[in-house]
């Protein structure tokens, strides 16, 4: 698992936000660390108690804030520390993918993986694969896209002085 030389400096490198469940995948990511496995530095891991806590709003928020890919890691089916939180994640992500597809966001940008606490190598492999796949798609970079979309409109008007004066006496 050779680490690819990357540079986010020029803004061309993708960033992946990962939500890992604390019991399996986060532990596996720790194992990848203690085993000194190497993977690309493009990923930012956020710990949650269970993949079932991953609200699709988080995924959409991550994309909206500039993530080029989102990776969710949970325990293997049948292994969930909370019985079946991972199945909830599976159903939600399946539905979310349908939504994202319509919104023009490619399937490869959202990945759900079952990675058990002992699979540090799988953490490294999945991250490497995903960084490669997202790099091939190019950056999503929605903040920049939004700036592009908004170039067509008049600048956002703030409250006028008169309004500010009218509003002030009420103490609002």
């Amino acid at each position: 698992m050779e680490e690819q030389r990357v540079g986010t400096v020029n803004g061309q490198e993708p960033t992946i936000v990962a939500f890992f469940c604390t019991w399996c995948t986060y532990t596996a990511a720790d194992l990848a660390g203690t085993s000194r496995m190497k993977y690309p530095p493009n990923v930012r891991i956020i710990r949650v108690m269970c993949s079932g806590r991953v609200d699709p709003q988080f995924v959409v928020e991550a994309f909206a804030q500039g993530a080029d890919g989102v990776l969710i890691g949970g325990c293997h089916p049948g292994d969930c520390h909370y019985v079946e939180g991972n199945y909830k994640a599976l159903r939600r992500i399946a539905l979310l993918k349908r939504v994202l597809r319509t919104m023009g966001i490619e399937d490869e940008r959202l990945r759900l993986e079952w990675i058990s606490a002992s699979e540090g190598d799988k953490v490294a492999r999945v991250i490497s694969e995903m960084v490669g796949a997202v790099r091939r798609l190019g950056r999503l970079d929605l903040p920049a896209k939004r700036r592009g979309w908004d170039a067509e409109v008049l600048p956002h008007g703030g409250p006028t002085e008169a309004l500010a004066a009218a509003a002030a006496p009420d103490g609002r």
Binding site: L95, L96, M103, G138, A151, A167
Partner: protein, 332 residues
């Protein structure tokens, strides 16, 4: 005509169907009380005032401006900016202005395909030359112009600052009256609030008690596919009723009419992106474990974006369909 002792009120419409205007008319006798209390200085759909009349007024001289409709054209932007300057309170009135509304679903396409679809490809259109609207045109030595048609549909607050929101497609007369009274009496919640209860619709639904405690569905149904029992929670009949995710305030008008809630009041204040939240809730509400079984259930929701973001696509975190050839690249 304008009475300087009464607060002045303006109504304006942008990209909308006119239903919100109807909602004002629907005040019925109530409109007399409103007219008693306020002086309407601008209402293009009903009264003959010109843009120049409003422009001539001092900034901040209008107490309240109610703007309905999404923002789609340069003219709507200009009007929004002007009303923002003239009004002390700018109210986004109705789902389109609040969240983008039905016109906001056009954000699944770009400007060109919308124009082509409407003016050339629609089966009822005869346009052999494929003429599309132009922003300016010379005819007999005279130049005529049209407002620019934007690539992206916007909510009112994506163009100007908005003080309050009155939700609904359209808002109910009661909400409008409550809002007018709140503004007139000064009993207002924090700026930026939606003037409707911050709780989901089930709270107001007459069918709430009939929902089983533990409901997991095997598939979702559309209203034409079932004989709806008017006495039973629509979700428990397999209909994708969005009441659990939709702000209350309409008193469950649609369920009363035997139709599931489609979410026109938008989410509660605690939800960032109602479509994604619905994905989460709906994705939790059925029972399937294998990928195939899950896909089978999901295929009973034929248009997830149109269902979950029916009124709110421009207000969503993603806002519009990402197209690789979008003007974003050009602007970078």
């Amino acid at each position: 005509m304008s009475n300087p002792t009464k607060p002045q009120v303006a109504f304006y419409w942008c990209a909308s169907c006119g239903g919100c205007e109807e909602a004002v008319v629907d005040l019925a006798d109530g409109v007399l009380a409103v007219v008693d209390a306020v002086d309407i200085v601008f209402w293009p759909v009903a009264l003959d005032f010109k843009r120049s009349d409003v422009e001539a007024r001092p900034d901040g001289s209008i107490a309240v401006a109610f703007v309905n409709g999404a923002i789609r054209t340069s003219e709507q932007e200009e009007m929004a900016h002007m009303l923002r300057r003239k009004a002390q309170f700018l109210i986004a009135f109705g789902a389109c202005s609040h969240l983008g509304g039905i016109p906001g679903l056009a954000n699944l396409w770009d400007r060109e395909s919308v124009l082509r679809g409407s003016y050339s490809e629609a089966p009822s259109v005869v346009n052999p030359e494929g003429t599309l609207p132009q922003e300016s045109w010379q005819e007999d030595g005279r130049r005529v112009t049209l407002p620019a048609f934007r690539d992206t549909v916007r909510t009112l607050d994506q163009v100007v600052e908005v003080d309050y929101y009155i939700p609904g497609c359209p808002p109910t007369p009661k909400l409008l009256m409550d809002a007018v009274q709140a503004i007139l009496s000064g009993a207002l919640p924090p700026r930026g609030s939606v003037l409707a209860p911050d709780i989901a619709l089930c709270d107001q639904c007459h069918l709430k008690a009939t929902k089983p405690d533990r409901l997991l569905l095997a598939s979702f149904k559309r209203p034409h596919q079932v004989l709806i029992d008017p006495e039973t929670c629509l979700l428990s009949q397999g209909l994708l009723c969005l009441g659990p995710a939709t702000r209350a305030g309409c008193e469950a008008l649609c369920p009363h009419g035997n139709m599931p809630c489609t979410g026109c009041f938008g989410p509660t204040s605690r939800v960032h992106d109602v479509g994604a939240k619905l994905v989460s809730a709906v994705g939790s509400a059925f029972d399937a474990s294998s990928p195939d079984a899950i896909e089978a259930v999901l295929s009973t929701i034929p248009d997830p974006v149109g269902t979950f973001y029916r009124y709110s696509l421009p207000a969503s975190r993603l806002r519009r369909k990402v197209s690789q050839a979008a003007p974003a690249e050009a602007a970078q």
